[in-house]
């Protein structure tokens, strides 16, 4: 196995293209090293992208933020302005693993690992995040909800890698929140994860909403029916109940060692309601 640490996007793209599929990108390594140790992946070359400046920066962009794919959870948590604008996204990333994992893990890695239960993804979907990808044919942008195509599978072609995310600006009276269910208080993979983002007008009526749902299908889902249940309402308990029901209908989970179909479906509704109330409170206070 070779280890390379390129300093530009172009170099990284070349290395990955030349590896013809046996290359693996290394950011925080909290997924990759576990897979290496268990023999699940046997890459020919590991391409460490952390020396590429664009993957490690957080910069303002059009009232929102451009966040490097290899920025760690710990660094995101320390960025006050980003936390203020997108508290749900940051709290979702903060839930990934332990403090030690947070010292290394990144949003980019979390998305690219493409676990259906990845914590950051429902929140990124709810936020309407965009992915910036560099590859042999140049650079492209993709909405985050299109990035994962199946468990462990992404839209990335050979030679491409995820460079950064764009998180949009927010109108006034906007809030987002992410909640997940785990059996313990920490350290578990999400059994269900829900991200809700909404914006209210000056009368408290919801004018925009997005809801992301994780761990209940082959990929995290953008649940438009759930958002539709909130738009045009004051996000009262009646609207939340309709949203909850839409969430449960969207679930396509499996039975596995982390949860059953029945359980996941039930709890997804409970969490959606709870996350919605937090997002609402944040929107009212912003």
């Amino acid at each position: 196995m070779r280890y390379e640490a390129p300093e530009t996007k172009g170099e990284a793209v070349s290395l990955l293209a030349m590896a013809e599929g046996s290359g693996r990108v290394l950011a925080g390594g909290t997924d990759l090293l576990v897979q290496l140790r268990s023999g699940v992946v046997k890459p020919g070359v590991v391409v460490d992208i952390k020396k590429i400046v664009e993957t490690r920066e957080i910069t303002t962009e059009n009232g929102g933020f451009r966040v490097g794919a290899a920025v760690t959870g710990a660094e995101l948590d320390e960025h006050k302005a980003l936390k203020k604008l997108w508290p749900g996204v940051v709290e979702a990333v903060e839930l990934i693993g332990s403090t030690q994992i947070q010292g290394r893990a990144s949003m980019g890695g979390n998305l690219c690992n493409a676990s259906p239960a990845a914590d950051s993804v429902p929140a990124l979907i709810a936020a309407g995040a965009q992915c910036h990808i560099a590859g042999p044919d140049g650079e492209r942008t993709l909405p985050v909800e299109e990035f994962c195509t199946g468990p462990g599978v992404t839209n990335l072609q050979t030679g491409e890698f995820l460079v950064s995310f764009s998180l949009p600006s927010r109108p006034r009276h906007s809030g987002d929140a992410y909640l997940r269910f785990i059996p313990r208080t920490e350290m578990d993979i999400a059994v269900v994860g829900v991200g809700v983002s909404l914006s209210l007008d000056s009368n408290g009526i919801c004018v925009a909403a997005r809801v992301g749902l994780g761990a209940v299908a082959a990929t995290a889902l953008l649940v438009t029916e759930a958002a539709d249940a909130l738009i045009g309402t004051s996000v009262d308990e009646g609207a939340i109940e309709i949203m909850t029901s839409a969430i449960r209908s969207a679930c396509r989970p499996i039975d596995d060692k982390r949860g059953t179909i029945v359980y996941r479906t039930r709890v997804s509704g409970v969490l959606a309601g709870r996350a919605c109330r937090i997002a609402l409170q944040r929107a009212e206070q912003s």
């Binding site: 196995m1 070779r2 280890y3 640490a5 290394l26 925080g28 390594g29 909290t30 090293l33 576990v34 290496l36 140790r37 268990s38 590991v46 460490d48 952390k50 760690t72 710990a74 693993g97 332990s98 403090t99 030690q100 994992i101 010292g103 290394r104 208080t185 920490e186 350290m187």
Partner: protein
């Protein structure tokens, strides 16, 4: 196959070692540098027994490739005491009986120090969540949390 040559700093001292690309920082600390204070409990980042800091960040050494630490600063449990002076956390762990078998203790000490370096007045809840990545099977965590809170109080003066 040729091994990689890495130059880094460990506990303030310049260090060089040879490693395979598959070796983790934990493998190298133990098997090449014989710094066996950091332990392997799981090799998958779930137990925290290999906790070290990398450029000031608390991480699991089992999830860092040895090649990644080129030019970086690593601190381990072996760097916590200064000469024969124990760090206040180490002394408080002894005073509070915050260890029984002791295998998780280096990881807890490194992690707790990382907490107190950032937050000199953590609540019990903050301590528990910060240390959630460090497993202990012997103590039930009670005396560990008390030791950390007591150390924080003492260090605040």
């Amino acid at each position: 196959m040729a091994r990689e040559h890495i130059t880094t700093t460990v506990n303030g001292d310049p260090v060089e070692f040879l490693c395979d690309t598959e070796q983790t920082l934990l493998d190298v600390l133990r098997d090449e540098l014989r710094l066996t204070g950091s332990k392997e409990g799981c090799a998958s980042g779930d137990c925290g027994a290999c906790s070290v800091t990398l450029d000031g960040r608390l991480v699991c050494a089992c999830l860092v490739l040895a090649t990644e630490v080129e030019g970086q600063k690593v601190t381990t449990i072996e760097g916590m005491a200064v000469g024969d002076q124990l760090h206040p956390l180490q002394q408080k762990f002894l005073d509070h009986a915050a260890l029984q078998c002791g295998v998780c203790t280096p990881g807890f000490l490194v992690a707790a120090k990382a907490l107190l370096d950032r937050n000199s007045n953590p609540t019990e809840t903050e301590v528990r969540y910060w240390l959630a990545g460090n497993l202990c099977r012997c103590t039930g965590y009670d005396k560990i949390v008390r030791a950390v809170l007591d150390t924080a109080a003492e260090m605040r003066g």
